[in-house]
Amino acid sequence: MSEMWINMGPQHPMTHGLWNLRVRIDGELVLEVDPEMGYLHRGIEKISEDRHYNEVITLMDRTCYVAGMAWENLFILGAEQALHVEPPERAKWIRTLSEEFQRIGSHVMWYAAFVQDIGLMAPFLYGMRDRDLVLDLFQSYTGARMTYEYNRVGGVRNDLPPGFIDRARKVCDWLLDRFQEYDDLCLGSDIFRKRCDGLGVLKAADCVRAGITGPMLRSAGVKRDVRKDRPYNAYDQVEFDVAVADGADVTARYLVRMEELRQSVRIIRQCLDWLERNPGPAMAENLPRWMGAPYAPVGKEGYLLKRNYPKGVGLSAIEEPHGEALAYVVNEGGEHPYRVKLKSPIFTNLSAAKHYLVGYRVADIPPIMGSVDVCVGEVDR
């Protein structure tokens, strides 16, 4: 068998989502890779230019369909900076809480997909089951399981419902036990270690050069986390540690994500305590009407009325479950943002694919790409 190109995607079990990894192989050895993106390009940045700020939220949920809340937070932070609005303290804590729950949801989903990639059957369902609890919680206060539409400019749509905090505490306890099971199933398995140790190695210097962020970067020993370095929402008031490992391989990424799950539970507990003690409004008071409401009143031809929007520009950065995400929001006085630029962490992580795929075997591609945690929705936007 001589060298050949194979297309892993766009409809292939390895690609969680629509993208195509073209691989040149010799036997089972990977010689060259060429990711092809764009199958899921929906033009979210362009559509945002035609929508009211609060309506852009509906798009952000769909940017990354497993981490919708994180992207809502990201955009809303940028938009609030551009519109010169300050949310109340309680909204910040609720956002922190939501984002950490979303991190758990996303990481558990990652776990499920990743173990499925290396052939573990049962833990896939365990991951889905435990993510469902998080989704139940989301549903109980946002009203939807994946597309929340919860954040608004100037705060969040509604406060937490009664009984939420107890329920969330129970879920936290349950999840911590399950994380131990996850570790037993993976780290405790010799085959898993054989499969993942020393795979997809990308050392710290290469990671930084390639612009890689998030758990992949931290697995190489670089302690960079936007939550610590440039705190937003209430992250400057909660205690947590940045999970790092120094293997730089698939196992290290697994370790980092598992530790982040535990840290998320830790942050959530602090948030729950704070929210229990400090009631208050979840929406900024005396907000101009068009900001708080999800709609803008209209004149003759739809959005006819020009309003005095203060010009502004905002740059927000958050630590999304996959890494450092940026939003650049330009407001030029219309009712819609003039330009929304979103930077997805997976976008850069994928662009470095050749650095961590070449030289391994075809059978190694699913675990390596699984450890990258690809979500095509936010790459293509």
Binding site: M37, G38, H41, G43, E45, K46, I47, D50, Q81, V208, R209, A210, G211, I212, T213, V222, R224, D229, R230, V313, G314, L315, S316, A317, E324, L326, Y328, V330, Y338, R339, K341, K343, F347, T348, L350, S351, A352, D380, R381
Partner: protein, 164 residues
Amino acid sequence: MEASARLFQRDLMGKLSKRFPTGFLGLDPFPGTFGRIRFDPAIALELFREIRDVHAFEHLAMVAGIDWVERREVLYTVWSDVHRGYLLLSAMLPAERPHIETATTVWPSANWHERETWELVDITFDHHPDLRNLLLPTGYQFHPLLRSFKLHEPEELEVKVRHV
């Protein structure tokens, strides 16, 4: 962070204006970051090198293109692990044939960002190693993030694929 950031800003401004007497156009304050450097696209490559090597901004986070109708802005967001903060570099390009030197030689992570900016905002990056379509189909003639590209008018969006 505020006082030290302001100190750093002034320091950076002084150094850069000394190093680039003509190309460096100023450093505007920008909330939450060290500020926004405006520079002439002619000095792009040297400025990138300077920013990365001398001032230790080794992580390129984002490249954004903005269409201001009469001109186009290309915006680089860089992060420094040493100073723990973002810095924005912005260059204004003319609306006709906007082009700037690629940053891939300085920050390899700029590769896909620049491909995306090229196809969506129509800014050419000279000497880019691999300037192909990334998100749009190969040969797509339009640049959707230009202000002249209107939504809600489907008859204008007829896909014209150049067969090669």
